[in-house]
Amino acid sequence: MNGQFALNVGVSNSGKEYAIKKPQITPKAQEEAVAVSQGARESGVEWIEDKHSDLSLSNRIDESNLLLTTSTTAASIKVASSAKPSQGFIQELKDKFKKLLVSAYGNMFSHNRLLAKVSEWMAGTATAQLALMGISTQELEDIKSGVRLELIDNNHVAMEQVVYDETMLEILT
């Protein structure tokens, strides 16, 4: 039902496009214009003045909708099958998510609580996406432990530097 609604919108939009187009004045068009003024329609359908006219028109619309719906679904399936992502693209995506995981996991241990909280959520999302892409749990754990070890090293170096600076300040002042 929703598809039909969407299609109806699409049809009306395409109608708008046609409405914008400038009419080409050709001898054939002139003939058609004369025919339309006499009661004939461009589509070739004629209005018959009887009590069943409304019914026949609505039936026709339903039929066309059905036709359009079927053809559109078939097309979307075709698009889906032809737009299968390449292996390079998948690898690129995996690398991007790995990078995101590394940065988010690193920030999870930040002294800034807000940043840590947001990073926790981001790391969770990245982990879930990587798991969906087929990355093993072992690999994910390896990434996390690598980041953690690097952070520990950085923390030690930074603390030593702070203590050194503090001592220097103590001596020089």
Binding site: L151, N155, M159, V163, L169, L172, T173
Partner: protein, 128 residues
């Protein structure tokens, strides 16, 4: 000068606190226990003292060389010896503090020594 010094100290303390919070989140808070911190402090003082000794040797060499501004070298040397003196006093203070902390960690020294003596292999053999 004092205001500037206080501001610098404040910044240092803030940095230290942030690093300690990060260490706690990483689960390595024990790496920064008082003994480890004192050890780190002693290391940094030794490093600074080594640099100062090196600088003093350079200045003395400069002083003995001809064609250099002796007055400037002497002023620098005087200032440097003041810093060296301060660093040496600091190293003594922190060494004492470090020893105190170690002793505190060991508990009662006399009792510990008695316990160690009891564990002497010869005594254990006789008792058996």
């Amino acid at each position: 000068m004092s205001k500037k010094k206080n501001a610098q100290k404040k910044v240092m303390n803030e940095l230290k606190n942030q690093l300690l919070v990060q260490a706690e989140r990483l689960g390595i808070k024990d790496d920064y226990n008082p003994i480890a911190m004192e050890e780190m402090k002693l290391d940094s003082i030794r490093k600074i003292l080594g640099d100062l000794y090196m600088e003093r040797a350079n200045l003395e060499y400069e002083l003995n060389m001809s064609g250099t501004d002796k007055k400037e070298a002497l002023i620098k040397l005087e200032r440097l010896s003041r810093y060296i003196h301060k660093a040496e006093a600091l190293i003594k203070r922190h060494t004492r503090k470090f020893e105190d902390l170690i002793e505190k960690g060991m508990g009662d020294v006399k009792k510990t020594r008695r316990a160690v003596r009891k564990l002497d292999t010869a005594r254990v053999r006789v008792a058996a």
